[in-house]
């Protein structure tokens, strides 16, 4: 542990908060259809889009109509992406967009990949530079990076409107929320962000791969491509699907310590800002501050644990007599699978940033973390995207937990529970309960299937049968269920002997189970969240009094944190024991 390390962490938290506050206010205006400083430039294109797609953006939708639009849109996106990926070397695709002439990946892997990008997961069984054409990357995957993020933001905004709704059942208009997210939020930040990344050395080209002669006399292929434009949305949309297989550890994706910090800010900026948007839209900013405090507290705990654990090294490393103390020229700690240019703090922080959100980008190998350090991303995933969470997803997830906390806490102050003045009754509890249940259910069942079946065991290596193999399987499904996309490596769904997919095949069990888990754990909670919004929308509002439980003070923050930890811990404690905890408690190397 170094001063610079701690300083990075503190600086990051401060900058994030400072940027998220104004962005949250800006977004509140965007979703209340108020004028913002970009309106003069963007109002024209916005109207044009509505006209082209024949959308009446002023038409309010109830939760069912909203959900229907969302599902139809996502299904269409799914089909289109599947088509693009399966035809990447078809005759009508210009050679310039597939200069290496890559074939398509098999159907099962494509099913997984398409489900992965449409659900904002970006779980990648494939490696981008040996599988995907530039066309697939730019117009297939990157487009879904934009759209899937926008869909989730729309859900979050619709839920806020449901909570706020004073009359009627309208949650707003899905198409308007979608278009506004893309034009007013994602586009401006992406343009700026891509320029910053390019300035730091992130590449953006359509070249064929370079061949370089190394000093050892061998030749090496250096993959090229339009990286910056995909990189920025990969972070900003908490997608996480790297252009290259090694993701943000690759120097063309994340070249410097500065880009590392910048990319982490891109990941968290919208999830953090949306919390403030919630405060603004509910007319009480303190509501936003309260949730933000709970998220930030949990986030910082995760960062501290990961940083300390990684700086300390594992019992196995100590047993093997490896140096983990700081010595001149090295910060010490567990540097296995980490990039020197990021160091322990930059890696631990990045790891926590991308696992509390649904980003899942990595700049270091999570499977090489120490037992306890590796338990951190799993614990983060166990919180079901309530610690900032994915773009949009984070807010609607934690709001369901807030609902639960309000219900339990509300009883304890002697009133039937009410949330921002709305009584919580059987219907809301049922929907929120189911919404919260989906992710753990999907993760646990899929892991059980995978660890108990031959089909599942085929995805883990012979070496990894013990706790490491369990961690890999568990992490794979936990990550896919949380639409995260980061991996504990080792878990395979695609066997690719040659670049370009000739002779490759997918592992059908892992591909289909994973794809199914991603779709289920994405769209079921969305539907429950929208249904909760619908149930709340028409409710009468009771003005708050002295006897009303407040949801904007420190007591509630503590309660909310307790509920998140308790639900996550009680659900995943046994699984965590058998994976990372075993490894953290033994000097035995698995």
């Amino acid at each position: 542990m170094t001063f610079a390390g701690w300083a990075t962490i503190v600086l990051f938290a401060v900058i994030l908060t400072a940027l998220a506050l104004p962005l949250g206010g800006y977004m509140a205006k965007v979703y209340s259809a108020q004028r913002v400083f970009l309106s003069p430039i963007l109002a024209g294109p916005e109207r044009l889009l509505y006209r082209v797609f024949r959308v009446d953006e002023r038409q309010g939708q109830d939760w069912k109509a909203y959900a229907k639009s969302l599902l139809v849109f996502s299904l269409a996106g799914w089909l289109l992406l599947y088509l693009i990926l399966r035809t990447q070397n078809a005759f009508f695709v210009p050679h310039g967009l597939n200069p290496l002439g890559y074939h398509s990946a098999p159907w099962n892997v494509t099913f997984n990949t398409v489900s992965s990008f449409v659900t904002n997961t970006n779980w990648q069984y494939y490696s981008g530079e040996t599988t995907m054409s530039y066309f697939s990357q730019m117009l297939g995957l990157t487009v879904q990076n934009w759209l899937s993020a926008s869909v989730a933001v729309a859900v979050a905004v619709a839920l806020i409107r449901g909570i706020m709704g004073r009359s009627g059942k309208s949650l707003g208009n899905f198409w308007q929320d979608l278009v506004r997210t893309i034009l007013y939020v994602l586009a401006p930040i992406s343009v700026l962000g891509a320029l910053v990344l390019v300035s730091q050395g992130v590449i953006q080209n359509f070249s064929t791969y370079l061949s370089a002669h190394t000093i050892t006399g061998l030749s090496q292929t250096i993959a090229m491509g339009p990286v910056a434009s995909q990189e920025v949305i990969k972070e900003l949309g908490t997608n996480g699907g790297g252009f290259f297989n090694v993701n943000s550890a690759h120097p063309f994706e994340n070249p410097t310590a500065f880009t590392n910090l910048f990319e982490m800010l891109l990941v968290l900026i919208i999830p953090a800002a949306l919390v403030f948007t919630y405060g603004r839209m509910t007319g009480n900013r303190r509501q936003g501050y309260a949730i933000y405090s709970a998220m930030m507290a949990l986030f910082l705990v995760a960062v501290v644990v990961a940083y300390v654990a990684e700086a300390h090294g594992s019992p196995a490393q100590h047993a093997a007599g490896l140096h983990t103390h700081a010595i001149s020229g090295s910060g010490g700690g567990n540097m296995e699978g980490k990039e020197q240019r990021f160091g322990i703090a930059g890696s631990a922080l990045f790891d926590v940033v991308t696992t509390v959100t649904s980003c899942g980008a990595v700049n270091s190998a999570i499977e090489s973390f120490t037992g306890i350090g590796g338990a951190v991303p799993m614990a983060n995933l166990s919180a079901s995207e309530t610690i900032f969470g994915g773009v949009g997803t984070g807010l609607y997830s934690i709001l369901l937990y807030v609902l639960l906390a309000v219900f339990i806490g509300g009883l304890m102050v002697g009133r039937t529970p009410e949330w921002l003045g709305k009584k919580l009754e059987a219907r809301e509890i049922k929907l929120a309960g189911l919404g919260i249940l989906v992710t753990p259910l999907a993760a646990l069942f899929a892991t059980a299937l995978a660890t108990a079946s031959h089909g599942g065991r085929a995805s883990i290596s012979e070496l990894g049968k013990g706790p490491q193999g369990f961690s890999e399987s568990f992490y794979a499904y936990l990550s896919q269920a949380n639409n995260n996309g980061s991996a504990f490596a080792g878990y395979t769904g695609f066997v690719q002997p040659n670049a370009g997919n000739v002779g490759s095949h997918g592992v059908t069990f892992a591909d289909l189970l994973g794809g199914g888990v991603m779709l289920f754990a994405r769209f079921a909670p969305i539907l429950f969240a929208l249904a909760v919004a619908g149930a709340l929308a028409g409710k009468r509002v009771t003005p708050a009094g002295l006897g009303t439980m407040r949801t904007d003070n420190p007591t509630f923050v503590v309660l909310l944190i307790a509920v998140i930890i308790l639900v996550g811990a009680l659900t995943f404690f046994p699984a965590l024991l058998l994976g990372p905890v075993v490894q953290g408690l033994t000097g035995h190397l698995y």
């Binding site: 639960l404 219900f407 339990i408 806490g409 509300g410 009883l411 304890m412 102050v413 002697g414 009133r415 039937t416 529970p417 003045g421 009754e425 059987a426 509890i429 049922k430 309960g433 919260i436 249940l437 753990p440 259910l441 646990l444 069942f445 059980a448 660890t451 108990a452 013990g466 706790p467 369990f470 009468r540 509002v541 009771t542 003005p543 009094g545 002295l546 006897g547 009303t548 439980m549 407040r550 003070n553 007591t555 509630f556 503590v558 309660l559 307790a562 308790l566 639900v567 811990a569 009680l570 659900t571 046994p574 699984a575 024991l577 058998l578 905890v581 075993v582 408690l585 033994t586 035995h588």
Partner: protein
């Protein structure tokens, strides 16, 4: 003048451990094992199924078979788990049975009065009381039981209602007005009245009361339903956790027996709150009954915890209700004693509280009480036309009455009222009092100042309500000026002056449209619409039948300040639910630390049969894996009977503001719920481990 707020008459709490109740509760808790009863409570149904499966496993083992689902647990272990699982269900049933038992004991007392009475009809014929229906008119004379609920349509009588109210002093029931309702089963102690029956056979107030306290008509309240759903969702999550744990264990080379998995499941699902939930609801109703309030639905009890606005009638609730003479203001040239004497004489025959208070006040001026009989005076009663009353003695006319009426009278007699009179009248009116002018023939002697007095201690009560977050609104027929003065004196938040039933109803609607829950009390027929509109409408038992039917609670003591206690009971009920839910869920942490290290003690052990890395999680230092699991299950079971007293008594409510209350309960039941089982399981393990002999 002041008077104490009548302290709520509280029925003797029926002891929890009365022999009869205990015996019946024990029998009932076995009877309730019927799966058709259990299915209504998803959590306990899961426990019952678990007990059944474990018992079958034990039977198979007892006959030499292998346990279901593999594993190598000995039969005694399976047997012990099965026994404690059954006990968990039985303890849960016992909690409910105890709660019902107390109500039932009260119901029995009531039932004893439901004797077969014979009703005498108006035409002299007789009919069994059970055959009476709405609209029949019966005659009840002194010493007879009133055969059914009804309204007095003729006559006045004293009625002993102690059977339902517990109050031994007889009350007056008379036709017309707001004291016309009579209850079946009560006894007329004097005079004779004609009663029109207002109930259908079998639906008397008494019968409704019996079924209410017995809990026969108990339906789940909305909040109870919501909480049940939450508990079911938690149960579902833990079922998934337990079901998937088996393959996870096998992957790590550890086979977990089905009995152990079931033990883990039962330990994790919220059995504590699941077991006590219905007892808490029944006990809430029971607590109201003991305060002599009958809630006609559990929903109303719940709603009373949510009350935002309390409408209180000024008269009788906030003030003593009678305007009492407090000061004599003589006109210039009139001696105070002269005024006192005339005022007294003019009031001698006046049996209203106002009149009597003038006599009492006059005594302080040294005026001896006169006797009407010896004075040969002729009483002139008050009428709405004259707006004055008085006596004629020796040809002199002594009058007291409204200022303008007296002025008119004096002018008619040829006199002229002194200019000071109007000044005094205005002053008293502005101060919220009522002036009564006193005149002798054509001379105005002075003014009696009648004051409405606020009951002692009301201000403190309103402060208490304010701390609970409840606004108090005083409702009065007085003019704004008077109302404002009394409102200020009493410390209410707001007032409605010149109230009519329509304005009262409109005020309730207005508050409800703003999203507030409104409670009110009322007794008159003209209160009925407002009582029906209010979220919690408490009808006074002395009130009319219409009022009693419109409200959703009846206060047998007819004490309007009872609302405050009703609100407290409602809040207590909700807090108890929340607190025990929190406690139940918080308990799981310790149970994990008891059971999981036991299950995985040798997982990934360096040598076969040795201890694996996870044994260090046995932070409680429990004896053996089996004693650990058994201890967790025993704790899980006995925590239920240990919490029955809290469930029945309710967690205390303090008006300290929501945030402080939440902090307090989170500390006690949340943090306490995490810590308590660590201690409990350890202690139980010390015993179990020693008994099992290692």
């Amino acid at each position: 003048m002041s008077s104490q707020i009548p302290h709520a008459h509280e029925r003797q709490a029926i002891s929890l451990f009365q022999g009869e109740i205990v015996r019946r509760a024990l029998i009932d808790s076995i009877k309730k094992l019927d799966p058709r009863v259990q299915i209504r409570n998803p959590v306990m149904f899961v426990v019952e199924l678990s007990s059944l499966i474990t018992t079958i496993t034990w039977l198979i083992q007892a006959f030499g078979g292998k346990p279901l689902g593999g594993g190598s647990e000995p039969a005694w272990y399976t047997f012990l788990i099965a026994v404690w699982l059954w006990l968990t269900v039985i303890f849960a049933n016992m909690a409910e049975a105890f709660a019902e038992g107390r109500g039932r004991a009260q119901a029995d007392t009531l039932r004893a009065m439901r004797k077969e009475t014979v009703a005498t009809m108006r035409d002299g014929s007789t009919r069994a009381a059970a055959e009476l229906s709405r609209g029949d008119v019966v005659v009840v004379a002194a010493g007879e039981l009133i055969p059914g609920d009804g309204t007095v349509i003729e006559g006045i009588a004293t009625v002993d209602e102690s059977a339902i109210t517990g109050e031994s002093a007889p009350v007056i029931r008379e036709s017309g007005g707001d004291r016309s309702a009579v209850t079946g089963g009560t006894r007329v102690t004097s005079d004779r009245i004609l009663v029109e029956i207002t109930q259908e056979p079998g639906q008397s107030f008494l019968e409704r009361m019996i079924s209410l306290v017995e809990g026969a008509e108990r339906r789940k309240t909305p909040n109870e339903v919501a909480l049940n759903i939450l508990l079911a969702a938690l149960t579902l999550i833990f079922m998934i956790v337990v079901v998937t744990l088996r393959p996870f264990g096998l992957f790590a080379g550890t086979s977990i027996s089905e009995t152990t998995l079931i033990a883990l499941l039962v330990a994790l699902i919220p059995t504590t709150i699941g077991a006590l939930l219905s007892a808490i609801g029944i006990a809430g109703m029971d607590r109201l009954v003991r305060r002599n309030v009958l809630a006609l639905s559990g929903r109303a009890v719940e709603a009373s915890g949510d009350i935002d606005v309390l409408l209180l009638d000024k008269t009788g609730t906030i003030t003593i209700g009678n305007r009492l003479a407090s000061e004599l203001v003589p006109m210039p040239g009139v001696a105070e004693s002269e005024l006192a004497e005339v005022a007294q004489l003019a009031s001698l025959a006046d049996e209203t509280p106002e009149g009597r208070s003038i006599v009492v006040l006059a005594k302080q001026y040294g005026i001896r009480e006169h006797d009407m009989g010896t004075l040969q005076a002729e009483f002139v009663p008050f009428t709405a036309q004259t707006r004055m009353s008085g006596v004629d003695i020796d040809g002199r006319r002594l009058r007291k009455g409204a200022g303008d009426a007296i002025v008119e009278l004096v002018r008619g007699e040829g006199g002229s009222p002194p200019p000071e009179l109007q000044v005094v009248l205005d002053r008293i009116g502005n101060e919220g009092g009522t002036p009564l002018a006193v005149a002798r023939d054509s001379q105005v002697l002075g003014v009696v100042y009648l004051k409405d007095t606020v009951k002692e201690g009301m201000k403190a009560r309103f402060d208490q309500l304010r701390a609970m977050g409840i606004r108090t609104v005083m409702v009065t027929g007085d003019n704004r000026l008077t109302a404002a003065k009394i409102a200020e004196e009493a410390g209410v938040d707001d007032f409605l002056a010149e109230a009519t039933p329509e304005r009262k109803l409109a005020l309730i609607r207005e508050h409800q449209e703003d999203g507030r829950l409104v409670a009110m009390t009322g007794d008159g027929t003209n209160d009925a619409p407002a009582l029906a509109q209010a979220d919690v409408g408490v009808a006074m038992n002395t009130g009319t039948q219409a009022a009693r039917e419109a409200g959703n609670m009846v206060d047998l003591d007819s004490n309007p300040t009872k609302l405050i206690e009703i609100v407290e009971v409602g809040k207590q009920l909700l807090i108890t639910r929340g607190a025990l839910s929190t406690f139940s869920i918080a308990n799981d942490v310790a149970k994990y630390f008891a059971i999981l290290p036991a299950v995985f003690i040798s997982t990934y052990a360096a040598s076969p049969g040795g201890k694996g890395p996870l044994h260090v999680l046995n932070i409680m230092g429990l004896g053996t894996p089996r004693s650990a699991i058994i201890s967790a299950i025993i704790f899980n079971a006995i925590v239920i009977p240990m919490l029955i007293p809290i469930a029945l008594k309710g967690v205390g409510y303090r008006p300290i503001g929501a945030s402080a209350l939440l902090r307090r309960n989170l500390l006690i039941y949340g943090l306490g719920g995490i810590i308590a089982p660590f201690i409990g399981i350890k202690l139980i393990d010390l015993i179990v481990h020693n008994l099992l002999g290692g």
